[in-house]
């Protein structure tokens, strides 16, 4: 399986080249085109390897992952499928290794082969109230994961501590611990500062950030839109 990324960083497209017998599982509606030799199966949360109904629902509702996924399998010969997210921005491929999981901000996940398993990581009540989708998907196993970002991607090899705005986080490896905290010591100051909740990340590992914040973009555009009619 090979990933080819084009049109970076503004409107990145991923071309996933599959050898005969290989398969990739992708988020619903991320497929743009595919060669005709690929078999497509749509799986709900009950499918084998997706961890059963409750876990699947948990991922969909909490993790930002789609409820249904499509699996593209090269049955006859080799083939390829092209994938892209809804918003403008870059894509990246991270190789998950045994013993080093990847924690993914829910809406950043695009695709992975069956050798990689996804599960929801509960963030505690603070994550729940932060207003951002602070539910991480934990990717374990051995294989590549395709992620999307809103904006360009900054890779940081962390060794120490960094304070990160939750809306700019894409993913990080499991050697990094995180703590949800207010941006300022006080709640009112945090609200006025516009930063709300931030993550304090510590440890050693890799961290991927996106240069734009989807919810800030939503506020910038959405606050000017006419109110929805009931």
């Amino acid at each position: 399986m090979q990933f080819e990324l084009r049109y970076q960083p503004a409107h990145t497209l991923a071309i996933v080249h599959l050898s005969p017998g290989e398969a990739i599982r992708a988020e619903a509606s991320s497929m743009i085109s595919m060669t005709s030799g690929l078999a497509v199966s749509t799986d709900g949360p009950l499918a084998r390897g997706r961890g059963g109904l409750l876990r699947g629902m948990g991922r969909a509702m909490l993790g930002g992952e789609s409820f249904f996924t499509n699996t593209f399998t090269a049955v006859g010969g080799a083939g390829h499928v092209t994938l892209a997210p809804a918003l403008c921005g870059d894509l990246l491929v991270h190789d998950v290794r045994p013993g080093e999981d990847l924690l993914i901000q829910g809406s950043s996940y695009v695709a992975a082969p069956d050798t990689v398993t996804l599960d929801t990581q509960w963030q505690g009540m603070k994550g729940f109230f932060s207003g951002e989708s602070l539910f991480f998907l934990r990717a374990t196993g051995d294989g590549p994961v395709l992620l999307n970002a809103f904006g360009a991607i900054q890779t940081i090899d962390l060794d120490g501590e960094l304070i990160v705005d939750t809306g700019h986080l894409v993913a990080f490896t499991s050697g990094i611990q995180y703590r949800v905290t207010t941006a300022s010591p006080g709640l009112i100051a945090s609200w006025l500062s516009g930063e709300g909740f931030v993550l304090s990340v510590t440890g050693k590992g890799r961290l991927y950030l996106q240069t734009r914040n989807p919810s800030e973009y939503g506020v910038a555009v959405g606050s000017s839109l006419p109110p929805r009619e009931a």
Partner: protein, 231 residues
């Protein structure tokens, strides 16, 4: 203070290295990361040497705008007694440029284009009409003065226009302009063109100085999306 604009011109962000004593003032909500030694203080953007009355007026305007969903008038000040680094980014896709002030030069920045400025720059909000107070169309400007650097962000690319004489720009495309330029907000022609030309309000500049224009317009994006929204 050292800085770098990275990931431009489409998704630029600003990385600033803070030496002890340096202060970076940045738009509320713009922080991406900061190192643990960096302190953040939230302040009302009433101008550094604002009197009591102006402070009170700015306070109520700020509160109203925060509650009604407009842009906030709060800014965050980042400082690092032991040195540190802070990264800030705007909300929309586009670029960032830094402009050095000093020697009495002032820069007017469209409210939504202000990203950050260094500690010795004073930023004051200037309203160009009552309607802008309530978040309507028009031009809300920040008057930047003092010695230091101002960082402005654009929606789209930034064109630097050396004006000598007169120049007309759609208000939605104005990023910033030198204080040496006089300006007037009006329609491009008469009432007919205001209603039917599709150009809305324009800013007419006169004098000699530099003008920064962005290649996209948030108001135009909103106008394009609005009719597509279903209830």
């Amino acid at each position: 203070m050292q800085y770098a604009v990275e990931h431009g011109p489409v998704f630029a962000w600003l990385r600033v290295l803070l030496a002890p004593g340096d202060v970076l003032q940045a738009e509320a909500g713009s922080m991406v990361t900061r190192t643990p030694g960096v302190q953040m203080d939230t302040r009302l953007n009433a101008g550094r040497r604002a009197g009591f009355f102006r402070f009170i007026v700015a306070f109520f305007v700020a509160l109203a705008r925060k509650l009604f969903g407009g842009e906030t008038m709060f800014v965050n000040e980042f400082s690092a007694p032991g040195g540190g680094e802070v990264v800030v980014a705007p909300s929309l896709s586009g670029h960032i440029i830094g402009k050095q002030l000093g020697g009495g030069r002032r820069l007017f920045v469209q409210r939504g284009s202000y990203l950050a400025s260094t500690g010795d720059v004073d930023t004051r909000v200037r309203f160009t009409g009552l309607r802008t107070l309530l978040g309507g169309e028009g031009l809300v400007l920040l008057e930047c003065s003092g010695d230091g650097e101002v960082f402005v962000n654009s929606y789209g690319g930034i064109t630097e226009v050396p004006v000598d004489g007169t120049f007309v720009v759609d208000t939605g495309h104005v990023v910033a302009f030198d204080g040496t330029l006089d300006f007037q907000v009006g329609s491009v022609g008469g009432l007919k063109s205001l209603l039917f030309s599709g150009e809305g309000l324009v800013c007419k500049f006169r004098g000699r100085g530099t003008l920064y224009v962005q290649s996209r317009n948030l108001g135009a994006l909103v106008d394009w999306i609005s009719p597509l929204l279903s209830g």
